[in-house]
Subunit: 192 residues, 2 copies
DNA sequence: ATTATCTATAGATCTATAGATAATGC
DNA sequence: ATTATCTATAGATCTATAGATAATGC
């Protein structure tokens, strides 16, 4: 049953990707090691050869989810050089993003779970958040660097809060209103 | 072991209060029925005489947590008639609020959990969110009623997002910065 | 010989129920 | 007689480990 080192590394990769999607969709506690391994087409017992514990996978898969987000944001910003901030807002606050948490922002999907997790996971979230704020700060209009930074941090809060709340009340009119109001108010900063 | 109807109603009350705090602190899945009953000084088995299921308690305790928040906000607004909006911001975005989720906002503590819950819970969250937005809309400056409403919805997203993220990265410098930046940017609306 | 994966299971925990108990309220 | 609570447990699920298996890589 043994596979080559190359294959093993690929398996490890598949586990991290499967976990990234399943954790965002169901929460850290909402999915078990066995189901993640099944999604990666492996058996339960093989898990502990790749990771020290479930929490180890939580930290690693979260890091990857956040790094992917930063890469996506960078690409999005580059494809809209005239108004990168507007492009980020439209992308983040779309109903499509709201309706597919498994492929979306880790902060909006797992912020509460991270808050209840240990130091290692919270540190991973802090290190994943910083680049997103940097990208926002470079895209956002503002007088000084400090002002742009402050606007970027607050905009990040608005984005994550709006998506979180839109999902929490999904199925009611408040859900769409939340995305639209956040979009309108954040975009107002560009029009100033 | 039977108690009077009055005592039974009081027990039910205690269960809902204990659940309200424990769910906010540990998440819907992070605490069990047995621990909630222990916190209410009752035994595990008695639970199902009071509630149809754990999800039933989730919905009821969430409703109460949110109704209490609305009552607190109303009181806070009344005690600061000159600048109710500033009072709400200072209260919500305080380190004290961040550091005690069990007594704080249900949306910032359980938004992700609600998003993964069933329709009944999500509807409860929508019905609990509306009054908070109404209070914000009455406190916030703005040209038209529609503008104030939109600002209130977006401000709610910023508040919840900032607290959620501040908790997710708790223990790093970003945590305080998140509270301060959100406070500064939201308060800017008052100074306009 | 080493090791990636598999099967099987230990041990803990969780929701929910069954049946006993004992105090209330008709 | 009714019923609020209790003890005990069924049945499911979850993390983690033990030991077997078989293919890789020295």
């Amino acid at each position: 049953m043994r596979v080559s080192r190359e294959k093993a590394a690929e398996h490890r990769d598949r586990i991290i990707d499967a976990a990234g999607a399943l954790f965002r969709a169901k929460g850290f506690g909402g999915i078990g090691v066995a189901d993640i391994m099944k999604a990666a087409d492996l058996t339960h017992g093989g898990f502990y050869g790749h990771f020290a514990s479930k929490e180890d996978l939580v930290a690693q898969s979260s890091r990857r989810s956040m790094a992917r987000a930063a890469a996506n944001w960078t690409k999005l910003v580059e494809t809209a050089p005239d108004n990168p901030y507007a492009a980020l807002l439209a992308h983040y606050l779309s109903p499509k993003h709201r309706d597919d948490p498994g492929k979306g922002c880790a902060f909006a999907a797992l912020g509460n779970d991270a808050a209840r997790s240990g130091k290692i996971v919270r540190k991973a979230f802090a290190e994943g958040l910083a680049p997103l704020i940097d990208i926002l700060a470079q895209s956002i209009p503002g007088k000084s660097k400090a002002a742009r930074r402050r606007k970027a941090v607050a905009a990040m809060a608005t984005l994550v809060g709006a998506l979180t709340l839109a999902r929490a009340v999904e199925g009611t009119p408040l859900s769409d209103e939340m995305l639209e109001a956040a979009h309108h108010e954040l975009a107002a900063a560009v029009r100033l």
